[in-house]
């Protein structure tokens, strides 16, 4: 019996697995995680267990149940293996990739869009088309959809200064739908400046995507390109040198060549340009040391692209060390500059607004002093520039205190704070009056407005001290328009999370937001209460009384107008600021906003100035305080509280319990920085400027921090090949011998002021080389720090490597050969530009498949099987049941045929009537029935033995008429006593039944 069960079951299982395997082999289904299929190996074990433990089921039912269970298990395994139905795709999906890089110039996209529209007009209804626009980056203009109709305008924002076709193809491949025959139509000039087109095409082909290519052609007749300006890297004062200019021309023409030095005209000449390469040179002589920027510009008849007509270069003339003093007024540094002059140090003054934007222009100075310069006097780029100047180029930075310096000048979390040996965060024990700041955001109406809203809000929060309170209001927030009400800025991350999740809406009126802000600020215990509103100015005005109330409560409101629809829109914002003592700003573009918000947030920031005369203490004798005795430091009138960084040296501290740093210094990257938290004027340092050692201590500070200029035996030059540069250093000693195994520290600072270390490799005796990337447009500064074997000191060599314009402007014709090759690799074709011929939606030769997950359906099926299995095991159908059911059905059919049904019904009705008449005669009245019931109850105990006896004689429970079952239940206890218990009798009955069915099976 077992054997038969196992054979049937195994056969069914094998059949099932065979069918599954065949479907897999034929590609009808696939498994995306097939390792789970190993689980099917336990199916034989299930079969064995089912055969050995039948749980009282009839053998046939047991086998069927076992098969169902195996099927159920197999389905679950298939679900785990991620079974999918594979289907052949008939629809076509085409992604159009449209090149909009600068090499296309300002070409109107309408022609290409019309071409795309004409191509898509040919597609079948279910085919899909999408478009990606690319340059340096790629952006999906529209995902593939059945309806694609492009107007004359593209909406994607891309950087056009480079062409990265590979990235665009990879984006298309990733975004392409799977359930279609897939194709890319690349519309480009083929002039890539980044990535590898062929690599991208291969990637797409590997994903079953064909690439067709339409070449964007452009031809120029008289274009002139400034290829390069050649200058010596380093010259001496009054040394004659040659400026050589390389110009490429597409035709014979005439032009004017201009050479500028530091923006001033140096030479100008009429030139005849021949078709091809042209070289011109000019001899010059310079007498002022430092870095000098040279620019050559060509203007020629017939030239249309001006962006590629300029070449830049730098010349460095070795000179004396120079210190740059940056301060709002010269009086801030007059004593210091006088000390420098007396000590033969060259010093220059510059107001903060004149601070250069270019790192190259800073290379004339070996130390930069910021005296009472607030952080918002500089752009973030300028701060990054100063940071790179110290870190990568070895220039010193000294910050001197004042009302607008250090923390009071808002340098928290700035690149400058990173450079300095002190942090602006003060210790917890210090008591600082609290400020409260409410920000009202209405920014959704200018491009990326909500992005900027979040950025500037976070920047403002970043600016305030942890003790201050901040709240943000916007339309679309809570009922009272608070995104979050005024709360301590101690946990700024919570605020940032809320801001990141915010979605500011278009504010109809300023009233509700300002009212909520007023309600919140009015009850706040802050010393300074300030509010900033940013808007385009078109919400309805608040009540005039509200503005008066806010002014009366000491709440200042600064307003920032941006992107107003008309000048009139700013009037309301100006009015609000004027009435409350705030400031009105008009932001020309969003990039100005962070600076404005930092400056305004600073209003609530408590002054960190400790303005009480104190005695500075000499805590440490170092090279900066050499010759200064502990008891001879004069008193100072005030200082800005800061905290020394762990690695900083702090020679002078305050005399109060906090021992705040007054003079601190450390090394930062290749350079050094110093913090003096009091000032160097007759204001806070009135006793210092008259002190006999004032000059000594300050010249020691300035000399220590300045970049050292060592006489160098290094010959440094660079070679540029496209966007790749090579730094070559030849090291030769004074005897002409090569210097080997030099330790050189080279840093490249790109136009974004990001520094990068170049690893110098010795390639020959005395020669060291390193490659670097110079793809960003702007000035790259290369700095080589070296140890001078003669003096033991560290010297620096710096040079500028300009990239005047994007390589996009260097190409004057499309790269057709590359595109032909790309079409071959991509399995596509070169399109003619004629929609009727190109027919990009015809992909009949391409066959692709897509998969559809079916595990959810299978899980439902498995649940149904589970239910079936439960029914099969718990509801037992024997052959007799089946036979009885069939007999009944047969009898019913026979009665219907013979019309016996009516006779039977008549007989039943007659019998019912007779019984009713009989009972009616014998039935007692209702009171009599009640009386009989009472008597019957009284006789129950006597009746029990008889009923028990009746049960005991019954062969099975089913033989007992149901009418008696109520009475049966009352007699169970006695019956167990009599015949070994009810359970035993049921088991005996079950054994008999099982024996009987076994005999039948054997027969």
């Amino acid at each position: 019996m077992k054997t038969k069960h196992i054979i049937i079951n195994l056969s069914a299982t094998a059949l099932m697995l065979g069918a599954l395997g065949a479907a897999w082999k034929l590609g009808a289904v696939d498994f995306f995680d097939p390792i789970w299929l190993l689980g099917l190996a336990v199916l034989p074990v299930f079969t064995w267990l089912a055969a050995t433990g039948r749980a009282g089921l009839p053998p046939g039912m047991n086998t069927a149940s076992s098969i169902v269970r195996n099927l159920l298990f197999a389905i679950i395994v298939c679900c785990l293996a991620d079974i999918r139905i594979m289907k052949t795709n008939n629809d076509v999906a085409v992604f159009f990739l449209l090149d909009r890089s600068a090499s296309i110039r300002d070409r109107d996209p309408r022609e290409e869009l019309d071409y795309i529209n004409a191509l898509t007009a040919e597609k079948k209804p279910h085919d899909r088309a999408g478009i990606i626009v690319f340059g340096h980056n790629a952006s999906v203009e529209q995902m593939p959809e059945q309806n694609l109709f492009l107007s004359s305008k593209l909406h994607s924002f891309i950087d056009t200064d480079q062409t990265d076709i590979q990235a665009a193809i990879e984006l298309a491949a990733a975004a392409m739908p799977e359930d279609a025959r897939r194709k890319i139509v690349l519309i480009t000039d083929g002039n890539e400046t980044k990535g590898d087109l062929l690599e991208g095409i291969r990637y797409a082909a590997g994903h079953g995507i064909i690439t067709d290519i339409k070449t964007l052609n452009y031809d120029y007749e008289k274009e002139v390109v400034m290829e390069k300006i050649y200058l010596p890297d380093r010259i001496k004062v009054n040394e004659t040198f040659e400026v050589k200019v390389h110009i490429k021309s597409l035709a014979n023409t005439t032009g004017q060549l201009t050479i500028l030095k530091d923006g001033a005209l140096m030479a100008e000449q009429e030139v005849n340009l021949h078709k091809g390469d042209n070289t011109f040179s000019q001899l010059l002589k310079l007498d002022d040391p430092g870095f000098h920027a040279f620019s050559a510009r060509i203007t020629a008849e017939g030239d249309t692209i001006s962006r590629n007509n300029t070449g830049d270069g730098y010349v460095y003339i070795q000179g004396e060390s120079k210190i740059l003093f940056v301060a709002p007024g010269k009086s801030e540094v007059s004593h210091l500059m006088q000390a420098c002059v007396e000590d033969n140090l060259k010093a220059e003054f510059m107001p903060p607004e004149s601070l250069p934007d270019s790192l190259a222009q800073l290379q004339n100075y070996d130390c930069i002093v910021l005296a009472n310069v607030p952080a918002d006097a500089m752009t973030e780029e300028q701060m990054l520039m100063l940071q790179a100047n110290v870190r990568d180029l070895g220039v010193g930075l000294v910050m001197i205190g004042g009302q607008d310096s250090f923390g009071a000048g808002n340098y928290d979390h700035t690149p400058i704070e990173d450079v300095l040996p002190v942090t602006m965060d003060i210790k917890q024990k210090k008591i600082i009056p609290k400020g409260a700041l409410a920000l009202v955001l209405h920014t959704c109406e200018f491009p990326r407005g909500n992005f900027w809203a979040k950025e500037i809000t976070k920047r403002a929060i970043e600016t305030v001290s942890p003790q201050d309170d901040v709240g943000v209001l916007m339309y679309g927030g809570r009922e009272d328009e608070w995104l979050f009400p005024l709360m301590s800025a101690e946990n700024k991350d919570v605020m940032y999370d809320k801001i990141n999740q915010a979605f500011p809406g278009d504010m109809p009126s300023f009233g509700p937001a300002m009212q909520s802000a007023y309600d919140g600020l009015k009850v706040n215990d802050a010393m300074v209460k300030h509010m900033i509103i940013i808007s385009d100015g078109d919400p309805a005005a608040p009540r005039p009384q509200l503005i008066k109330d806010m002014a009366a409560a000491g709440i200042t409101i600064s307003t920032v107008g941006i992107n107003p629809h008309s000048p009139r829109d700013t009037q309301l914002l100006q009015y609000i600021a004027r009435q409350t003592g705030g400031t009105y700003y008009f932001a020309q573009n969003p990039a100005q906003l962070p600076r404005i918000f930092i400056k305004e947030a600073k209003v609530v920031k408590r002054s960190l100035v400790f303005d009480k005369e104190f005695q500075p203490l000499l805590a440490l004798s170092t090279e900066l305080t050499k010759g200064i005795q502990a008891n001879e430091l004069p008193s100072l009138q005030a200082y800005v509280a800061t905290t020394a960084k762990p690695r900083a040296l702090v020679p002078i501290v305050s005399d109060n319990d906090n021992e705040d740093p007054i003079l601190a210094y450390w090394r930062y990257g290749l350079g050094k920085s110093v913090a003096f938290t009091s000032d160097a004027t007759g204001n806070w340092g009135k006793n210092w400027v008259t002190w006999g050692k004032y000059k000594r201590i300050w010249t020691q500070v300035l000399r220590w921090s300045s970049r050292k200029r060592e006489k160098s035996n290094l010959h440094v030059r660079t070679e540029m090949n496209g966007q790749q540069g090579k730094l070559i250093i030849d090291a030769i000693d004074k005897d002409g011998s090569y210097i080997n195994f030099l330790k050189l520290n080279s840093r490249l600072v790109d136009p974004d002021n990001a520094g990068k270390t170049l690893h110098m490799r010795q390639t020959a005796p005395g020669r060291y080389e390193s490659a670097f990337d110079a793809s960003k447009v702007g000035i790259n500064i290369l700095n080589v720090a070296y140890a001078n074997p003669a003096t033991g000191g560290q010297g620096f060599l710096a040079m500028g490597i300009p990239v005047p314009y994007s390589p996009e402007y260097r190409r004057l014709e499309s790269n057709r050969s590359l595109l032909i090759r790309a079409a071959e690799v991509g399995g596509g074709k070169l399109l003619q530009g004629i929609p009727e011929m190109d027919r990009v939606f015809d992909t009949s030769q391409q066959t692709t498949h897509s998969s559809q997950p079916i595990w959810e359906i299978l899980l439902l099926v498995s649940l149904g099987l589970f239910f079936t299995d439960v029914v099969m095991r718990r509801v037992i159908f024997t052959r007799e049941d089946l036979r009885t059911a069939l007999n009944n059905m047969s009898l019913a059919r026979q009665r219907r045929r013979t019309g016996d049904r009516d006779d039977t019904m008549d007989a039943l009705l007659k019998r019912k009537k007779k019984t009713f008449e009989h009972e009616s005669k014998e039935a007692p009245s209702a009171p009599a029935r009640f009386q009989q019931a009472l008597q019957s109850k009284a006789k129950d105990t006597r009746a029990i033995p008889d009923i028990q006896s009746e049960i005991g004689q019954a062969p099975s429970a089913s033989a007992t008429p149901s009418k008696k079952s109520k009475t049966t239940k009352t007699s169970v206890g006695a019956a167990e006593d009599e015949e070994g218990g009810y359970t035993n009798r049921l088991l005996a009955a079950k054994r008999r039944a099982r024996k009987k069915t076994d005999n039948q099976d054997t027969l």
């Binding site: 979605f503 809406g505 109809p508 078109d538 649940l863």
Partner: protein
């Protein structure tokens, strides 16, 4: 006994499965959703004004890109064009003239532009200014049965101006303020039966009803609560619409559509704030076609059709 328990458990499992399948369905709301976020045809960057062109069986929708797109009432894209100028701002509202042309409030250019249904400019009138016939931010527009054009504007001159079909100034009324008959940012307007004009007085959170000559008839949304009636309050009503003796108010701030009698008795509301079916986010304008309302669900970047 065991068999019964087994069957019951299986039944519970099946019932559980059935309920799991059905539980995610939320309040049924929209009968159609048109478009999604995008800048190509059939997509929107924050849709604003909507108008139904009964003769074409289509609707026209303005969005934040300054595009006017035409859809069938079944949501199929038909055509689109862009406003002549969009640099300093985008239009807000549009309506069908008596002649079957489309009138657009070119809000930030202080003018009204009349287009053919193919997007061809037929006429334009208005310029920046405070004088009669001039505009500072015209926002809402509607036409009466005689073809006269009604324009609401805000900015410095919160008022209603009336023009002939050719754009000749007829009359105006209203000024900035909160008193009856005054406006704070009047937005959507609609001509009702019996020569009345309904004005969504957005920042005053009320609807003002005028005769077409400018006489104030009644104010809806600022009633005093009584014991048996809660106060009727709108939150930034941006548009009004009269259909079959029923007033519909679109509440930008409450993200819903309110249904009232023409006298202002509330009947029902539709919509809750959100992004799902039956939910709206800062809706701007609506239009009607046959028995349906089309709502520009602005911050959800879609137009939705509701039967309400």
């Amino acid at each position: 006994m065991t068999r019964n328990v087994g069957i019951a458990l299986a039944s519970i499992l099946l019932m559980g499965l059935t309920s799991c399948k059905e539980s995610p369905t939320t309040t049924s709301g929209f009968s159609l959703v048109i478009g999604s976020r995008g800048s190509t045809s059939g997509h929107f960057d924050r849709p604003r004004g909507i108008v139904h062109a009964p003769t074409l069986g289509t609707i026209f929708v303005i969005d934040w890109d300054g595009r006017i797109q035409q859809f069938t009432t079944n949501g199929h894209f038909r055509s689109s064009w862009i406003m002549p100028d969009v640099e300093i701002g985008k239009p807000e509202d549009l309506c069908m003239s008596k002649n079957g042309t489309i009138l657009v409030t070119d809000t930030h250019y202080s003018r009204i532009i009349e287009f053919s249904t193919d997007g061809e400019v037929i006429n334009r009138f208005g310029e920046y200014g405070r004088e009669p016939g001039q505009f500072i931010y015209p926002v809402g527009i509607s036409c009466d049965t005689n073809g006269n054009i009604y324009v609401s504007e805000y900015g410095e001159s919160d008022r209603i101006q009336v023009f002939t079909a050719n754009g000749e100034f007829l009359r105006s009324w209203g000024k900035y303020g909160t008193a009856p008959g005054e406006f704070m940012r009047p937005s959507g307007i609609d001509v009702g039966p019996d020569n009345t004009l309904y004005v969504a007085d957005a920042v005053n959170h009320r609807i003002q009803v005028f005769s077409l000559e400018g006489d104030l008839l009644r104010i809806i949304g600022q009633d005093t609560p009584t014991d048996d009636k809660p106060p009727l309050r709108f939150k930034y009503p941006y548009d009004v619409l009269i259909k079959d003796d029923t007033l519909y108010v679109l509440e930008y701030g409450a993200h819903r559509v309110a249904k009232l009698t023409l006298e202002g008795e509330p009947l029902a509301t539709f919509g809750t704030p959100g992004r799902d079916d039956g939910q709206l986010s800062s809706p701007w304008r609506f239009g009607h076609a046959d028995h349906s309302l089309f709502v520009s669900d602005t911050m959800n970047y879609r137009v939705v059709k509701i039967e309400f």
